[in-house]
Subunit: 195 residues, 2 copies
Amino acid sequence: MGNPNRDHEYLAKLQDYFASYRSLPSYAVIGELLGMASKSAVSALIKRLSLAGFVEMTPDKRLAPTKRFFEREIADFNVPAGLPAAANDAMSDSLSVDDYLIPRPSSTMLVRIKGESMIDAGIFDGDIAVIEKRHAASIGDFVLAVVDNEYTLKELGRDKQGYLLLPHNRDFQPIRPTESLEIYGIMTGLIRKYR
Amino acid sequence: MGNPNRDHEYLAKLQDYFASYRSLPSYAVIGELLGMASKSAVSALIKRLSLAGFVEMTPDKRLAPTKRFFEREIADFNVPAGLPAAANDAMSDSLSVDDYLIPRPSSTMLVRIKGESMIDAGIFDGDIAVIEKRHAASIGDFVLAVVDNEYTLKELGRDKQGYLLLPHNRDFQPIRPTESLEIYGIMTGLIRKYR
DNA sequence: AAGGTTAGTGAACGGTCGTTCTGTTGTCAA
DNA sequence: TTGACAACAGAACGACCGTTCACTAACCTT
């Protein structure tokens, strides 16, 4: 009957559904969604996906996605003209974007970038910076700092006279804190959305 | 009887539950969870939360959280001068970075950037591009294309002679496909990790 | 004090849930 | 060609689902 292993395709549809509704449907509806006429086929599919670690049952026996459900492959596009989609065994990395960028949620915040002072570092106006809150930083880190009562994202530098905040833009001058310099957090990631 | 408006407290428990299991339990279990003895109390609570916009029913009538369900309580630590409170506001209507960048999981892939050809667009070697697979693109889109049997990320351009692939790096020349140009997908996001 | 409002109890009920079992069909290896 | 196997169809079934209704208790107003 069926093709060899359409489970990956079925999983994709469930992922789309969950992305839309933040909930997994009943077996009957899954059947409709996937083009299956009987719930027993769905039941078997769920068992397979459960074994593969993509879904699980909550303590009260409800179907729920696992963390793995949200993982994505990162493909290198060195691949010579073969579809990178088909071969999922040789993938380098597999994780969810959240886990990748935000390993410690409780100490992490997101900050919308304003201004052009870091464009030479590939950080543009409107981008979102992932900031891990902490008060210590190393020279060379990109830091979100409070300088003279104002928040700013710059590279942390140092010279004979003390700490500096270095912009990455030829048109801007380094900032030397006159009164106070407080490190609010360091930048651990960048997020940008197009269109 | 009860205190004035414990709904906020109830919501918090549901949020915790969902964070643990990525699913909302049945009314009976919600009752246990919240210390309610009857399901009709839960039913009433769900109606209230639904009115307030924290939960909703999927098309197939299952209980599901809304985007608002995931909104973070804006922590009330003191704002000296222009605290980056605009932080969460950036992605206020999405529940996670995943959701923000990847609304349609099944047609989205992640590709590790190789090379310097797009550095003037703030896309660096080692960055991860979010690619939405599709074969049609508009002029000006950043596209992952297969040109003469090789994958490349460039801006899609056009002149009198036809389509072009434009790098964003002064040291690179535009690419004019000699044999074939196939659009593999368009770039909808960028992810970078520091350190 | 009376009356309204709101949150919750408890029981009854029809509908839907997911499981299970039997049967069918297409694929693959011997 | 045969037999094993996997994916799926279809029907039956008990359990659990969420709704509804009548009722109670605490808290407003006035």
